[in-house]
């Protein structure tokens, strides 16, 4: 029997931390309809069909916690929503993405599930989910399914929308160091860190990579001239204007020579080791197609190496491999290339393959190379004759550990002379473990924005953590790219509280961003006058390169809708947990338990060196303290609050009101901050409608941010006053 299709009711991409996880996920509401009555064990052949298509499912541990866990569930009987989740994840794995998190949860409507899958990118997540539905339905109904074709589509989407491998490895390294990242385009421009602590990368360029230096590096003749002036060995050479000139220069320099364009890179249009006039003339024509000027250089005997300089260190070195064929007396050169070179499974047409395939029609240099040895595509070389096809081929062999320290010093100097912080330097040398002046060696090129793949996936030898090296170059050990972030959640006067905290931060000398329900502020300037609590508004503060701190007011609805715009915060505040204050019906948050899973998100995000500021008077809020990775400061209008007593007994921090005083207390140690009869502050409460509780929360936040007590007091006095330095808000309006 054929089952009706699973219905996908809605799909949301939660870009930031959410109630499910810290990372971005696709949350889909899925109606499996009558399949609710057909768990997996009741559909004949389903298990086999599914595991035949996706044998990798055996790795899914699921709730069982061991390999094969999910398959056990599948055998015992589980529902289609749950199966979709695992299938979607497996499809992502098959398309080359890292394995991620997933969940499937029932909702209050029978047959409707929330299926959550980790999705590094929205379009990829969505496509894998839709594909999972198709596949599951095909498996249920025993209909054909062209998995490979669909996977290829998915891979195309991954290629189009996900970060390239070079950028990807840098971002991954940033994540390892707990440095947050934001993609600024669909391309490879990524911001690492937030606000004024951010840095930018664009593939292997950083925001320290000088544009002028890039121009210099793309002018090979100028580069050589500058290197030579600093005593760095470069091949003697000259710029030539035509084929005659190229031949004249070659004779002057001495054969063999290299002919190449002066301003292209990655080996395009370069012909090596040319020994006769015809080849040199032909090489000139090839080179002139790729660049505005053509260089003729002395051919340096030795192997090509690529050394990657990051900062002032050589962090990886690779050695090139020469591709050659062996004659057999039967096949032509062209055929031998197919048989002996392109048959290598590592070779392929795209960047994903570690090696390029060689097609003579696309590789005029290879043709020249072969011709210079007296053969052509149609020759049939005799048994045992070996012919070099490509010299400047792929950099396959990691030789990082062999690099002589003096070679490394010279290579770093070359990068410095050109002015690049990250450079790929091409060196021809016979033995990289010996100083350059003891051998025939020369730097032939300095490249900006070098590819990293050859160091990440060398064919021979160790992979090098070049992403980490770039991150360590951008951020010193004690830098993590973070600015102080305060997240505020609750239903009572949180707008006012957000303004107050932003005001304290402003007074402490920082340029502060504030996103709250009545607007978006940047350094005291109101930029937007509508509700600014959604993800994209909040992200604007983090992208802004001038801001030094940010305060975000949020709501349970926004957490469900988008996730939070920041990955972690320094201070997380929850003022109250009144479920009735929020309408969360459209997110199916219908129990206290689910509500708590929403509210705890704010506290889950508190950094280990951060602080949770919690209202001790609300037992549900107090219960969130267990989720805080950082410290906790409780506040209460009641100095004898039991929770605070326990907290105090542990020597920890409380803020409370006693006998007219606002008190900061650490363990038994108390600081009387101010008396509420103090006129300006009394006015805050009486006239501006400040809740005492809100005021205490603000003070606690100030303390959590290490703002001096005197400044907190002063800040409270002039907060919202009609004077030039006050925030541009009407307190009475936002307090109500």
């Amino acid at each position: 029997m054929s089952h009706p299709d699973i219905q996908i009711l809605r799909i949301r991409y939660l870009r930031g931390p959410n109630i499910w996880t810290y990372r971005s996920v696709i949350e889909a509401w899925v109606d499996i309809g009558v399949l609710e009555d057909f768990p997996s064990n009741l559909i004949p052949g389903f298990y086999d069909r599914l595991t035949t298509w996706l044998p990798g499912l055996i790795e899914h541990r699921c709730g069982i916690g061991e390999r094969g866990g999910f398959l056990m569930r599948l055998k015992d009987g589980t529902w289609a929503g749950h199966v979709m989740e695992h299938v979607a994840l497996e499809l992502q794995t098959l398309s080359g993405l890292e394995t991620g998190f997933g969940k499937a949860r029932e909702t209050t409507t029978r047959g409707v599930y929330k299926v959550i899958i980790y999705a590094v990118q929205e379009k990829v997540g969505e496509q894998s989910l839709l594909l999972a539905k198709e596949l599951v339905m095909a498996a249920i109904n025993d209909t054909p399914f062209d998995l490979q074709a669909h996977l290829n589509d998915l891979k195309d989407t991954v290629d189009e929308y996900c970060l390239g491998p070079s950028t990807g490895c840098i971002v991954e390294a940033a994540n390892d160091r707990k440095i947050p990242s934001i993609r600024l385009t669909e391309g490879n421009l990524v911001q690492l860190g937030y606000g004024d602590k951010q840095r930018r990368i664009w593939t292997a360029e950083t925001d320290r990579t000088s544009a002028i230096s890039e121009n210099i590096s793309s002018d090979k003749d100028l580069t050589k001239q500058l290197l030579k002036q600093c005593g760095i060995p470069v091949p003697q050479g000259q710029v030539v204007n035509n084929a005659d000139d190229a031949w004249r220069a070659s004779q002057e320099i001495g054969l063999p020579v290299v002919v190449k364009p002066s301003d292209s890179n990655r080996g395009r249009g370069v012909s090596l080791s040319l020994k006769n006039e015809a080849n040199i003339r032909a090489a000139f024509e090839i080179a002139s197609r790729y660049g505005t000027e053509v260089l003729v250089e002395r051919y340096v005997q030795g192997d090509e190496h690529r050394l990657l300089v990051v900062g002032d260190k050589v962090v990886a070195a690779a050695k090139g491999e020469t591709a050659y064929i062996q004659g057999d007396g039967k096949h032509t050169v062209e055929e031998l290339i197919e048989l002996q070179i392109n048959s290598d499974p590592r070779r392929g047409p795209t960047e994903d393959f570690p090696l390029n395939s060689v097609r003579l029609k696309d590789h005029p240099q290879a043709v020249l190379q072969i011709e210079s040895q007296g053969f052509n595509a149609k020759s049939v070389p005799e048994q045992g004759v070996s012919i070099i096809v490509q010299r400047n081929g792929n950099m396959n062999n990691d030789v990082t550990d062999l690099v002589h320290p003096e070679v490394a010093a010279t290579i770093c100097l070359a990068a410095r002379v050109v002015g690049l912080d990250i450079a790929g330097i091409d060196l021809v040398a016979q033995d990289i473990s010996k100083p350059l002046n003891e051998q025939d060696a020369a730097i032939v090129e300095v490249n900006a924005g070098p590819g990293l793949l050859m160091h990440l996936k060398p064919l021979h030898g160790q992979a090098r953590p070049v992403g980490r090296a770039i991150i360590d170059h951008l951020f010193t050990n004690n830098e993590n790219g973070r600015i102080p972030i305060v997240g505020i959640l609750g239903s009572v006067q949180t707008t006012l509280l957000s303004h107050l905290v932003a005001w304290f931060l402003h007074l402490s000398g920082k340029r502060v961003g504030l996103a709250c329900d009545e607007g978006l502020y940047m350094d005291q300037r109101k930029v937007v006058s509508t509700d600014a609590r959604d993800f994209s508004m909040g992200e604007r503060l983090l992208i802004n390169r001038t801001l030094q701190a940010a305060v975000f007011q949020t709501s349970p609805w926004h957490i469900c809708q988008d996730g939070l715009p920041y990955d972690r915060c320094l201070v997380g505040v929850v003022t109250d947990m009144k479920r009735e204050a929020w309408d969360l019906s459209d997110h199916d948050i219908s129990s206290d338990e689910k509500f708590k899973s929403v509210m705890r998100t704010q506290i889950d995000l508190v950094l280990t060196n951060g602080v949770s500021v919690l209202n001790a008077e609300d037992p549900f809020v107090v219960d969130l303290a267990q989720y805080s990775d950082g410290d906790v400061i409780f506040y209460s209008t009641d100095p004898d609050n039991d929770v605070m007593k326990t907290h105090r007994a542990e020597g920890r921090r409380n803020v409370y009101y006693r006998d007219g005083h606002v008190v900061l207390a650490r363990g038994g140690q108390e600081t009387l901050l101010f008396h509420l009869d103090f006129p300006p502050i009394a006015m805050r409460i009486k006239q501006d409608g400040f809740n005492l509780s809100t005021l205490l929360a603000g003070v606690a936040c100030g303390w959590a941010l290490d703002i001096a007590p005197l400044l907190i007091r002063a800040g409270l006095k002039n907060f919202g006053q009609k004077n030039s330095i006050s925030p541009p808000i009407d307190i009475r309006t936002i307090a109500s």
Binding site: L189, I212, L226, G231
Partner: protein, 858 residues
């Protein structure tokens, strides 16, 4: 007239501080006196009326055709627009041969001017016509082509005002400021701190807008569109009027503004499509185009830009009106003037068509006819300076825009009604940010005040008080240069500085040799100043390079002249007398920075006299504490270094530092006078660059004159109980100093191995053996392959001649081959003997000697 050996003197030189062309000119006998060539001057003036007055370099001297050549070369350049003023013609010791020197600002222009001047003189001599206009146009075109553009030029000028040295790296706009580790680069109005990423962002208008929007900078809404229909949909979403333009175009190509209808949308889309594939539709912001220039976190200039237009008078055609406007002398062809001629090309015609006009239409009186959409100066637009009008809030938005994109130097394009009020109040916005913005509209606006934006950019590179210079010590003299250079470098290194050093053995950076051979010329000095790892530099400055190309630097902090003595290499390159040599060598003293120091040997009268030409201060040194020059200088409270009680004393007013000779191994406890002089010169130089005294003392005590540290400079070996000294000395003064040193060393018997360099004057070669003959018991003369232009045996004969009547020498041998001579001398040594070997092929000879020494030691 024959012009030969044309040289470009690219730094301060014998004649002038300016860059100059130097040519050797030989004239025919009848051309030597203009007064004797009938009609020549008149014909010359007819051919080139702009030629200046002919003035003799020295009063009353006669003037020949070479003088005319000189003046013509100078004035051809200046008529073509080059700011040059210096020229001179100097006779040489050879009859009818003159050195003609003419300043240039661009080397190629200078050379070309010399060629034209030659033709001009020839034409005047032969009474032929000369096409002056073509010549001047060629010069002017070449100059416009190769000189720096106005933007880069303004930055370079600002740097020069601040005393920051610069060097062009290419024919284009890539310029390096500063030296060594203080170098910075610019390329047009872009600085080296500008990141490639920021530049890429600025080129992507969508991304730029997204980032500016994030930062709260007002930008016009819009989106990229696929095709005409999509453009129409987008335009309706955005709201009219709209702009349609290529996403990453420049210079306003393909941009259509103020679009209100579907037809206009379609036409504009097609127009944009001609230039780029990705097309944007944006909200059209009404108002004027402004360009705000942000440097760092400051707004430094602002201009209102207007497209080229003419105003109708009801009488003339558009074409005629354009011609009238273009007749304005303020409008030029290139970048030099504040306005450029309006281009009346197809773009203009197309723009006219949009207004329902063509070239021959006659617009009514007062009608404004726009000839282009964009306001670029290069196509006839105008710029009005509004820097002082910019509202602080508008300035803030511009600065935020620049910072958000990450550009240090940024042209922010703003569209609004007026910059007097915040953008937010008038729906104004930032439409674009530009890396490497053009500066001409701010430097030389069509209307209003010019702004010193070059200085703002230079201040971004070098904060006030910094000039990008590293300490440079230049050393010259006849003897002791190399040791002084090495010791100075050693003292600077002791201070922890990374030192670049050039001398006759090579170029060294931070102890590593990066070049070999004779590197005492300007090219090597320039290379050191280019090296990013150099914090201080010490240059041996030999005469050859000074004559050939001038100095490799514009000025130095310290100039050390060890001595002139009897001179060396006299007779080469028209340096015939010791006086000539002194004039040449004082070049480094003349080019001491005003805050710098000349370190001069008080005991050498030629050197002591150089003080008067030094723009900075002078430190004198001499062995004799009571030398009148020292005594006077000391009494005046100025710096002196001298010897007293086996100590080197550095003194200024009441301050004095005494360094015992025993702590300076170089002096061999004070017995080697010439090394004491080298030490004093180096001490004075280190003092001048502010090295602390304890570091100087430490450095002196750790400096040894062994073959590795100072090859060929008084290297002393113990050989089988005798003393062998190897030295590269090869002129009478060096020999004198060596003789003084050797006499101070105890020895039973003294021998010497000596050869003569063929390129010295006969009397200098003879003088060497004449000195030797009074001290050494035995002399071994040798001759080697390299005779530097002399025939076989000629030098030996001269050396022998010098030994005639020697008071001490008993035995003279002649040997062919340097190594054989060394072997012969060393094999004969007995314990207690002393042998001075004057080596020629320094490296090989030293290793030969060392090998012999080590063999016996082993």
């Amino acid at each position: 007239m024959n012009v030969s050996r044309i040289r470009a003197l690219r730094g301060p030189n014998l004649w002038t501080r300016h860059t100059a062309i130097e040519a050797l000119v030989k004239c025919d006998e009848h051309q030597d006196d203009l007064g004797l060539i009938p009609h020549f001057e008149q014909r010359l003036r007819n051919l080139f009326p702009g030629m200046g007055a002919l003035r003799p370099t020295e009063r009353g001297a006669k003037m020949g055709v070479p003088h005319a050549l000189e003046i013509a070369t100078l004035h051809l350049q200046s008529v073509a627009g080059c700011p040059v003023t210096f020229s001179r013609t100097t006779p040489t010791p050879e009859d009818l041969v003159y050195q003609v020197v003419v300043e240039y600002t661009e080397e190629e222009v200078g050379v070309m001017a010399l060629e034209f001047a030659q033709k001009l003189c020839a034409c005047a001599l032969n009474d032929q016509p000369f096409d002056l206009d073509t010549a001047i146009k060629s010069l002017r075109d070449l100059d416009e082509d190769i000189r720096l553009g106005p933007s880069t030029g303004s930055i370079v000028d600002a740097a020069l005002n601040r005393g920051i040295p610069y060097r062009r790296l290419t024919q284009g706009s890539l310029v390096q400021f500063g030296w060594g580790s203080k170098q910075k680069r610019i390329q047009a109005a872009e600085i080296d701190a500008t990141s490639a990423i920021a530049e890429s962002i600025a080129q992507d208008k969508e991304l730029t807008k997204k980032l500016l929007f994030a930062a709260g900078v007002p930008v016009p809404h819009g989106r990229p569109v696929e095709d005409e229909e999509d453009a129409w949909v987008a335009a309706q979403d955005i709201g009219f009027p709209v702009v349609i333009k290529p996403q990453d175009g420049n210079q306003g190509k393909g941009v259509t503004v103020n679009i209100n209808t579907k037809e206009e949308v379609f036409a504009a889309f097609q127009n944009a499509k001609r230039f780029k594939d990705y097309i944007m539709v944006e909200r059209y912001l009404p108002g004027n185009d402004y360009r705000l220039l942000v440097v760092g976190d400051k707004l430094v200039a602002a201009a209102r830009r207007e497209p080229p237009f003419v105003t109708g008078d009801g009488i003339h055609t558009v074409k005629a009106l354009v011609d009238q406007v273009n007749a304005d002398p303020k409008r030029g062809d290139g970048h030099a003037t504040s306005l450029t001629k309006i281009s009346f090309d197809e773009v203009a015609i197309a723009r006219l068509k949009e207004q329902g006009l063509h070239a021959d239409s006659m617009p009514a009186k007062g009608v404004r006819v726009i000839l282009r959409n964009n306001a670029n100066l290069s196509t006839g637009g105008s710029a009005t300076d509004v820097t002082d009008d910019v509202h602080p809030e508008v300035a803030s938005r511009a600065i935020e825009a620049a910072q958000m994109v990450g550009l240090d130097v940024c042209g922010v394009d703003v569209v609004c009604e007026t910059v007097l009020r915040p953008l937010e109040e008038q729906q104004g916005g930032v439409v674009e940010v530009n890396a490497a913005p053009g500066l001409r509209m701010h430097l030389n606006p069509s209307y209003g005040k010019g702004r010193d934006v070059g200085e703002a950019i230079v201040s971004r590179l070098y904060p006030a008080g910094e000039d990008g210079r590293i300490p440079v010590i230049a050393v010259t003299g006849t003897n002791g240069k190399t040791t002084t250079v090495r010791l100075c470098a050693h003292l600077l290194r002791a201070q922890g500085l990374r030192v670049g050093m050039t001398n006759t053995d090579g170029v060294y950076v931070n102890g590593r040799q990066i070049d070999d051979g004779d590197c005492s010329g300007p090219r090597s000095a320039r290379n050191v100043l280019m090296h990013p790892d150099v914090d201080a530099a010490v240059f041996e400055t030999a005469r050859g390079g000074m004559l050939r190309e001038g100095l490799g630097f514009d000025r130095c902090q310290v100039a050390v002249v060890t001595n002139i003595g009897m001179g060396d290499h006299l007779g080469l390159n028209y340096i015939t007398t010791v006086e000539d040599l002194a004039v040449l060598k004082r070049m480094i003293v003349q080019n001491v920075s005003p805050t710098g120091m000349a370190v001069l040997n008080a005991a050498d009268p030629y050197v002591a006299a150089m003080a008067s030409t030094c723009p900075g201060q002078v430190t004198y040194f001499a062995l004799d504490a009571h030398h009148p020059v020292i005594a006077t200088h000391r009494a005046q409270g100025k710096r002196v270094v001298f010897v007293e009680d086996d100590q080197i004393v550095a003194m200024q007013s009441s301050m004095q530092v005494r360094i015992p000779m025993v702590d300076i191994p170089l002096t061999r406890r004070g017995i080697l006078n010439f090394q004491i002089e080298n030490a004093m010169a180096s001490i004075a130089a280190a003092w001048a660059v502010g090295i602390p005294w304890e570091i100087i003392c430490k450095g002196l005590s750790s400096f040894v004159s062994d073959p590795t540290a100072v090859p060929g400079r008084f290297n002393v070996f113990d050989y089988k109980g005798s003393t062998v000294i190897a030295d590269y000395g090869h002129n009478p003064d060096a020999i004198k100093a060596l003789v003084q040193a050797v006499t101070n060393l105890p020895a039973k018997r003294r021998s010497v191995v000596i050869s003569g360099a063929g390129d010295r004057r006969d009397e200098d070669i003879k003088e060497q053996t004449r000195i030797i003959g009074n001290v050494f018991d035995e002399v071994i003369l040798y001759q080697d392959a390299c005779q530097r232009g002399r025939v076989d045996g000629e030098v030996l004969a001269l050396l022998r001649e010098g030994l005639q009547g020697a008071s001490k020498t008993e035995k003279v041998q002649e040997i062919y081959g340097e190594f054989l001579a060394i072997d012969q001398a060393m094999n004969n040594l007995k314990p207690g003997d002393l042998c001075l070997i004057l080596i020629d092929q320094v490296e090989q000879a030293l290793s030969h000697i060392m090998k012999k020494v080590n063999e016996t030691a082993a």
